[in-house]
C-alpha cells in the first residue's frame, strides 16, 4: 500500500528532513510512526498525502508513483486517503453533518447516499446525536471523532493521522486509538504519527521510528502478516 524507496526530502534552504528512507507498509497493515520532534514524521506523512513532493527517491501509494502524479489528478488520489490532523481541520461555519458530508459531496454522491453514509460514519464514531451541532460546541475529543468520521466516510483504503491524540487526555486518546484499530480490523491500512509511546506500546502494532530524518528502527512484529508483494 505504501512503499518508500530511498526517499529524501530537502526543504528550500537546505534543511534535509528525510534521508534515504525505505519502508513498506502492506495493504491492511497498521503502523505507528514515532520519533522526536523534528525527526521527519510530519514530512513523511506529507509526502504520502502529496502535500510535499520527495526531492529524490520514489513514494509509491497503491501502485502509483507519486512523482508522476500531476496537479490535475492529485485530488482524485487524495480521495482514496483519509487524513486526520492534530488540529482537526474542521469547518466551523458548518454543522457536524455538513463537515462529514464534504468528501461525499466532492465525489458527487446523491443526497440520499450522502445522508445514509454520513449517518453510518457518525454512528461508528458515536456522534450521531451531534449531527446538527456546530463543531465549536463540541469537546476536543468529539471534534477529533468528527474529523475521523469525515476521513472514513468515503471508505478510503488508507488512513493517515498526524498526532491525532496530541491534544487529548490518555483516556480519550485510547478511545481514538481503538477507533483506528477497529477500522484496521475491517481492512483499512492505517499509518499514525505519534509520540505517545506508552499508548502504542499497549497496542502491539508495527512501530516505525525516525531519528533525524533517517529510519532508526522498523520494529515489525514477528506475527505481523507479510502478504505477497502487493503495494
Amino acid at each position: 500500500m505504501i512503499l518508500f524507496d530511498q526517499v529524501s526530502k530537502r526543504y528550500p534552504g537546505g534543511n534535509e528532513a528525510l534521508t534515504k528512507v525505505n519502508f513498506h507498509l502492506h495493504p491492511g497493515e497498521m503502523a505507528f510512526l514515532t520519533g522526536h520532534s523534528g525527526a521527519g514524521k510530519s514530512t513523511l506523512l506529507k509526502l504520502i498525502a502529496l502535500i510535499e513532493r520527495a526531492s529524490t527517491g520514489n513514494v509509491i501509494i497503491g501502485g502509483k508513483n507519486l512523482n508522476k502524479v500531476s496537479r490535475h489528478t492529485l485530488p482524485y488520489l487524495r480521495r482514496n486517503m483519509g487524513i486526520i490532523f492534530q488540529d482537526y481541520q474542521l469547518l466551523y461555519d458548518r454543522t457536524v453533518f455538513d463537515n462529514v458530508a464534504l468528501p461525499l459531496i466532492i465525489s458527487g454522491f446523491s443526497s440520499r447516499e450522502v445522508k445514509k453514509r454520513v449517518h453510518a460514519a457518525l454512528d461508528k464514531v458515536g456522534l450521531l446525536r451531534f449531527e446538527k451541532k456546530y463543531p465549536i460546541t463540541l469537546s476536543g475529543g468529539e471534534q477529533q471523532r468528527v474529523s475521523i468520521a469525515r476521513a472514513v466516510v468515503n471508505k478510503p483504503a488508507l488512513l493517515l493521522a498526524d498526532e491525532p491524540t496530541g491534544n487529548l487526555d490518555p483516556e480519550l486518546s485510547r478511545e481514538i486509538m481503538d477507533l483506528f484499530m477497529a477500522f484496521n480490523q475491517v481492512g483499512v491500512t492505517v499509518l499514525i504519527a505519534t509520540h505517545d509511546i506508552p499508548l502504542i506500546n499497549q497496542l502491539n502494532k508495527r512501530i516505525i521510528q525516525l531519528s533525524h530524518g533517517q529510519l532508526n528502527q522498523d520494529q515489525k512484529l514477528s506475527d505481523q502478516p507479510l502478504t505477497s508483494g502487493e503495494v
Binding site: S110, E113, T227
Partner: protein, 329 residues
C-alpha cells in the same frame, strides 16, 4: 490475533467507494444549483458590504448605460428629421397664385420629386400671427413680408446626396425662385457630434467595464483570503480546482447581477427625473412632446447580461490567480 487479522485483510476488498456515473451526472447539476444559491446565501449574510460592492458596480455600469440611452434617443430624434429631407423654394414676390400652381404642377411631374406642397403667404402670415405671440406687431405691418413657399420632397429613389445636388441645381434654374434652401448641413454636423458622443460612450464603457472587473476581482480576492482555511480543507479531502472555484464564480455572478440591477434602477430613476423638465422644454419649442421614456427592454437585458458576464470574468481572473497559491502545508 494477528493471524486472524491477516485472513480478514485478504478477504476484504480494498476498493474506493465511487458514486455511479449516472448519479454523478445528475448530482453535478444538483450541486451546481446548490452552490448557486449557497453563494447567494453567503452574500446575504453580510448584506451591508454586499450592497456597498454591488452599488459601486451599479454606478460604474449606470454611467455608460445612461449615456447610451440618451445618445440612442438623440440619434432616433435626428433620424426622424433626416427622413423629412425637404427642400424649401422661396418664391419671388408678386407672382400670381395661378403661376405658382403651374410651377407646382410642373415640378410634380419630375421623377426626382415625390411631392410638392404650397404654403400660401397669406396663410403663413395668419399662422405666424396666431402662434408666435407677435400678432399685434405684425398687424402694424402694411405688407405681408412673407414669400410664397413651395416645399419639395425628393422621391425615395432620388435621395442620395449626389441626386439631391442635381435636383438643387435644376430648381435654382427656375427664374421665379428667389432662394433654394436645403437644411442638410446642420444635420451633418449633428451626426458628427453624435458620432463623437458614441465614441466617447464606447471609451467610457470600456474603462468602466475594466473597473467592474477590478472591483469584482478584488472582492473575490478578499473572499478567497477570508476562506483560506476552508479551501485548504477542501484541497486536503480531494476537492478539485473546479469544485473549489465554483462558489467564488457564482459569487462573482451574483455581484454582477446585483450591480447591473442597481444600474438599471439608477438609469431609470435618472430618466424619470430628467423627463419632466425635458417635456417642459420641448413644449416651449412647440415641438411634438419629446420625452426619453424609460430604458428599453433590450438595453436593460443587454446591461444585465454584460453585468453578469463581467462579474463572472472578474471572479474567474481572481480565482485563477489566487487559488493556486493556497495549498495545504
Amino acid at each position: 490475533m494477528a493471524n486472524s487479522n491477516a485472513t480478514e485483510v485478504s478477504s476484504v476488498q480494498l476498493r474506493q467507494l465511487k458514486p455511479k456515473f449516472s448519479s454523478r451526472f445528475k448530482e453535478f447539476f444538483v450541486r451546481h444549483l446548490q452552490v448557486f444559491f449557497y453563494s447567494l446565501g453567503l452574500l446575504s449574510r453580510s448584506p451591508f458590504s454586499t450592497l456597498m460592492t454591488a452599488s459601486a458596480l451599479g454606478i460604474a455600469l449606470a454611467l455608460p448605460a445612461g449615456l447610451y440611452v440618451i445618445l440612442d434617443h438623440a440619434s432616433q430624434l435626428s433620424g426622424d428629421i433626416s427622413s423629412i429631407n425637404q427642400i424649401s423654394l422661396f418664391m419671388k414676390k408678386g407672382l400670381s397664385e395661378k403661376k405658382i400652381q403651374d410651377i407646382q404642377k410642373k415640378l410634380e411631374t419630375n421623377p426626382a420629386i415625390a411631392q410638392v406642397k404650397h404654403i400660401n403667404r397669406k396663410a403663413a402670415l395668419k399662422e405666424f400671427q396666431d402662434n408666435s405671440g407677435f400678432g399685434d406687431a405684425l398687424k402694424a405691418l402694411k405688407d405681408n413680408p412673407l414669400p410664397d413657399l413651395l416645399i419639395v420632397h425628393p422621391s425615395m429613389t432620388h435621395s442620395d446626396p449626389q441626386q439631391i445636388n442635381t435636383l438643387l441645381e435644376e430648381l435654382k434654374k427656375i427664374k421665379q425662385v428667389e432662394l433654394v434652401q436645403l437644411d442638410i448641413q446642420w444635420l451633418q454636423r449633428l451626426y458628427a457630434i453624435l458620432h463623437i458622443g458614441q465614441r466617447g460612450v464606447l471609451i467610457i464603457g470600456c474603462l468602466l467595464a475594466l473597473g467592474v472587473l477590478l472591483i469584482v476581482g478584488n472582492t473575490i480576492r478578499l473572499a478567497i483570503e477570508n476562506r483560506r482555511s476552508e479551501i485548504v480543507v477542501m484541497k486536503l479531502i480531494g476537492g478539485t480546482d473546479s469544485f473549489i472555484r465554483r462558489p467564488f464564480l457564482y459569487t462573482g455572478f451574483w455581484y454582477g447581477l446585483l450591480g447591473s440591477l442597481i444600474a438599471v434602477l439608477l438609469v431609470n430613476i435618472s430618466l424619470i427625473i430628467i423627463n419632466d423638465p425635458l417635456t417642459h422644454l420641448s413644449s416651449l419649442y412647440e415641438s411634438n412632446l419629446f420625452s426619453l421614456g424609460l430604458m428599453g427592454v433590450d438595453i436593460s437585458a443587454t446591461l444585465l447580461l454584460s453585468g453578469c458576464l463581467l462579474g463572472l470574468m472578474g471572479a474567474r481572473i481572481a480565482v485563477g490567480k489566487h487559488l493556486k497559491a493556497i495549498e495545504p502545508k
